[in-house]
Symmetry: C2
Subunit: 146 residues, 2 copies
DNA sequence: TGTGATGTAAAATTTAGAATTACATCTTCG
DNA sequence: CGAAGATGTAATTCTAAATTTTACATCACA
C-alpha cells in the first residue's frame, strides 16, 4: 500500500522544467495543464522538491528551475522528497495480530526485520537511476514516436 | 500505492502452520484468531497459496499444510501468489497527463521503462528471502523475547 | 496598489483495501 | 442418509488513505 503517483508527477514536472524552463517561465499553472492534475498538488510537490534542494522557486514572481546537475538527482531523492516514508512503509503489516498467540506477538518484529533488507535494496535501485537517465529516455522515446 | 498487508498476513499464516500444523489441525478459524483478521480473508489467502502450490488444503475436512520445503518458498512467490500485480504496479503513474503536451504524451512510456528496472530489482530482492529465513528469524526473536 | 505568483490549511470527494454477509460445496461421522 | 464442521467465492458494506478542491495568506514586481 504505498508509492503513490506523486513521485511520477514530480518526475513529469522535472522533465517539463528541463525541456521548457529555459524558454519560458514554468508556473504551477502550466505544469498542472501538462500533468492534468490540480495546481495545488503541483505546488505541494514543487514545495517538497524545493525543501530537498532539487528545484528553486523565486518567491512572489514564480517559475521553477532545477538546481543540481541532472546526473546528481536520483529517483531516490525525488521519491524521498515527495513521500518521505513511502519506502519504509513499502509492504503493509497487519496490526491486528493477537497478543495471546506467540506468533501474533512477534510477527510484527519478524516481518519488520525481513522487510528492512528489501527496503534497502529498493532504495539502492532507485539511487541508481538519475534524472539524466530519465531525460535521455524521454528523448529516445520522443525520437522513436515520430 | 501498492503492496498491501495481505502478503504479511500470508507469511503470518505460513509461520503459524509451520509451528503448529504438526500438532493440530490449522483451520481458517484458528488463523483468523491469531492474525486478528476475518476468516474469509484467510480463506482467500490460503486459496491463493494453494493455487500457487505453496499449501495444501484437503477438501471438506480442512486443515492447511505447507507443501514444498521452506527453503524453496520465497517472499516473491508468496507476494506473487497473493497479489499478482503488486510489483508491476509498485509505483503509481498518473494517467491524466495532457496529450497536447509532448511531455504529457510520452511520460507514461518513459516512466514505465524506468520503473521496470526497479521492479525487477525488487523482485530479485524478494526472491532472496525464503520462508526458512523468516522462520529462523522468528525463532531468534522468540528466544530473545524471554 | 493591483496583478500574477506561490504556500498551506482544511474540507470534500474518490478510490482502494479490508471486513462482513450469505450461501454453495465437500468429507467424515453417527 | 443427514447433520456437523470445513472450505470456496460472490456480492455487499465499511473504513481508511489518496486525491482533489476550496479558500485565503503572502510575496515581488510593474
Amino acid at each position: 500500500m504505498q508509492i503513490s503517483k506523486k513521485c511520477s508527477i514530480a518526475i513529469h514536472c522535472l522533465v517539463f522544467i528541463n525541456e521548457y524552463g529555459r524558454q519560458r517561465k514554468v508556473t504551477s499553472e502550466l505544469l498542472s495543464l501538462s500533468t492534468g492534475c490540480n495546481p495545488v498538488i503541483i505546488r505541494n510537490i514543487l514545495s517538497s522538491l524545493k525543501k530537498a534542494g532539487i528545484v528553486a522557486v523565486p518567491p512572489g514572481t514564480g517559475g521553477a528551475t532545477i538546481e543540481p546537475p541532472l546526473e546528481e538527482i536520483s529517483l531516490y531523492q525525488i521519491c524521498r522528497a515527495v513521500e518521505p516514508d513511502a519506502i519504509s512503509k513499502l509492504i503493509g503489516i497487519h496490526s491486528s495480530a493477537s497478543l495471546l498467540c506467540p506468533v501474533g506477538r512477534n510477527i510484527g518484529r519478524v516481518l519488520g526485520n525481513a522487510y528492512q533488507t528489501v527496503q534497502e535494496d529498493l532504495a539502492d535501485s532507485l539511487k541508481r537511476i538519475s534524472l539524466q537517465n530519465i531525460v535521455d529516455e524521454y528523448h529516445a522515446v520522443l525520437a522513436q514516436a515520430e
